[in-house]
């Protein structure tokens, strides 16, 4: 299932929305950049049958960068993440993660999923969930029990979850579970931290705590962060660049470059207003390309 991405050098020029296919994206090679590339996409295209989620995506994410992927439902945010995890092949172009084929690099990638909750009697304690991040992928049964336990304690301490190390995961709150998820994702000292709506369904307090934990790891170890979210506000203080996906087109740039009324209006082909208040960004307006965007509440991220 983890097919290597097809290296198709044929540069198929897409006829779709040339106006919105803004590629203020990848800084050219010549420009001096710190850190090395953790994620590289070249001419990447992802389509499901006729439906193109995005094409001609050129992107380099370097170590230490905090990169947010924004967009409404169905614009290919999660698929973007799956490509980086090696779970979904590109339909065109190439992708590499830490210089390797996505999927082959999974030990360098920490993955923080959306909070889902466990059945109450799941036979896992908080520490077992974290331990699975350390050696859950290895064959056989655990033999270096003491070393693993030691590392688990370290990780739990790091995310402030030491208090409930032995509590059943099924009885922990969403916020507590997400702390464990981060501890689990950090287990291998990843070069890339992938967060998939990791703050969804958390209260504001825990959104803040979890968001800070992710950022602290980036600052401390220089790992890159790719944060997929439909709401930029909980992470806005940390984000370096945004990939904004909308209706088959996209825009890449700093929050100040992307989160602007004229940019998003162009992207959606509809009147969008971006309001800023108290450091929060509010995007309003109902785009009319109902194709891909379902914004019942009239609010898009």
């Amino acid at each position: 299932m983890t097919l290597p991405t097809k290296a198709a050098p044929t540069i198929h020029t897409p006829a779709a929305q040339p106006a919105t296919r803004t590629t203020a994206s990848t800084p050219p090679r010549t420009q001096p950049e710190p850190g090395r590339a953790v994620v590289e996409l070249k001419n990447a295209e992802l389509a499901f049958g006729e439906r193109v989620l995005w094409r001609d995506l050129n992107l380099t994410i370097r170590e230490g960068e905090y990169f947010a992927v924004l967009g409404s439902n169905g614009t290919g945010k999660t698929s973007f993440l799956k490509v980086l995890l090696g779970l979904l092949p590109l339909t065109r172009g190439t992708a590499s993660v830490t210089g390797e084929r996505p999927g082959a690099a999974s030990r360098h990638v920490g993955y923080v999923p959306q909070q889902r909750g466990f059945a109450p009697r799941t036979p896992l304690r908080a520490r077992d969930l974290v331990a699975q991040g350390i050696d859950g992928h290895k064959w056989g049964i655990r033999v270096r029990r003491r070393a693993v336990n030691h590392r688990v304690d370290e990780l739990l301490e790091k995310v402030g979850a030491g208090d409930y190390a032995n509590a059943p995961v099924g009885l922990l709150s969403g916020g507590e579970q997400q702390r464990l998820r981060i501890a689990q994702a950090l287990a291998t000292d990843p070069e890339l931290l992938l967060c998939d709506e990791a703050l969804l369904s958390l209260d504001l307090n825990h959104q803040y705590i979890v968001s800070e934990l992710v950022n602290a790891q980036r600052v401390k170890t220089g790992s890159a962060v790719v944060f997929v979210t439909h709401d930029i506000n909980p992470i806005i203080d940390h984000v370096d660049r945004i990939l904004y996906l909308a209706g088959g087109s996209f825009k890449i740039g700093t929050p100040d470059e992307v989160m602007r009324s004229e940019v998003l209006s162009e992207l959606y082909g509809a009147d969008i207003e971006v309001l800023r208040s108290n450091g929060r960004i509010i995007v309003t307006g109902r785009p009319d390309n109902t194709h891909h965007i379902s914004s019942q509440e009239g609010l898009i991220p």
């Binding site: 779970l87 466990f118 036979p123 859950g136 992928h137 290895k138 049964i141 209260d203």
Partner: protein, 324 residues
Amino acid sequence: MITAAVDWDSIVSSVFVFDNYGELLALLSNSLWAGALLGLVGGLVGTLVMMRDLAFSVHGIAELSFAGAAAALLIGVDIVTGSLLGSVVAALIIGFMGLRARDSNSFVGVLMPFGLGLGILFLSLYEGRSSNKFSLLTGQIVSVSPVQLTSMMVLSIVVVAGLVIVWRPLTFASTDPVVAEARGLPVRTLSIVFMVLLGVSVAMSVQIVGALLVLALLITPAAAAMNLTVAPARTVVLSVVFAELSMVGGILLALGGNIPISPYVTTISFAIWLLTRVIRGIRERGSSYRQGGSEEHPHGGGQDPHAHGQGSQGLPVPVGDVRR
């Protein structure tokens, strides 16, 4: 009218028969060993069945295993081979149809009556000894031959060795499939491997406890263990201990009489489950699940429909956390 002709003495004396017990024990040591093997396999596999929420699939596999055994009986080939074939084929079909329980449940529901029907057809066509027929459904213990014991030994080794090899990734994929897949684990392949091992275990159990009562061996001990602990290693150990108690205990009680073994096994395993459930209830009433004090509100999120709201757990039901 109808005389309440329940002669309690005769019932008790036919349920608990201990005449010439020493001799019987020596004579039926094969059965005991077979039971011990089954306890080990059942306890181990059961833990994973519970983790993966596959109880219903186990029942479905057992019915097809029964059909396989009945077909073997009819055409006069080895019953073990027949039941093995039936259950592994069923396990593979279920495994390929759905990765997770909710996908495969309806399919199992379709498959199960068909298997049972086939089995009954084969049995009614069979003209041999009728006790053979009955034992496929309700189990037998008296006639474990040395050949049968050897085959069970080989199958047990296959299952236990297979489980040990895939243990960590399999438990990871069973309890946390999304992250396991992101981590690059072959979640689907692991699922198929487990289904094969499950099929083999079910076929072994069908021979001894019978198709209808496989769950008592593959589910109940693990469920009882999970009443007492959530620590994975402890769950496995307890599950095996409970399965052994049920199997070996059941055989020791069943040896003397002419009642099938299954009532003994199912009763013991049910009693163990009941006891553990009571212990769990008392514990949950008595204490919080936390080890130390936490500065945090225990129900910070409150949005998770699964984690809370179980009044029976003695935990406060969240009323929405408005700390900020």
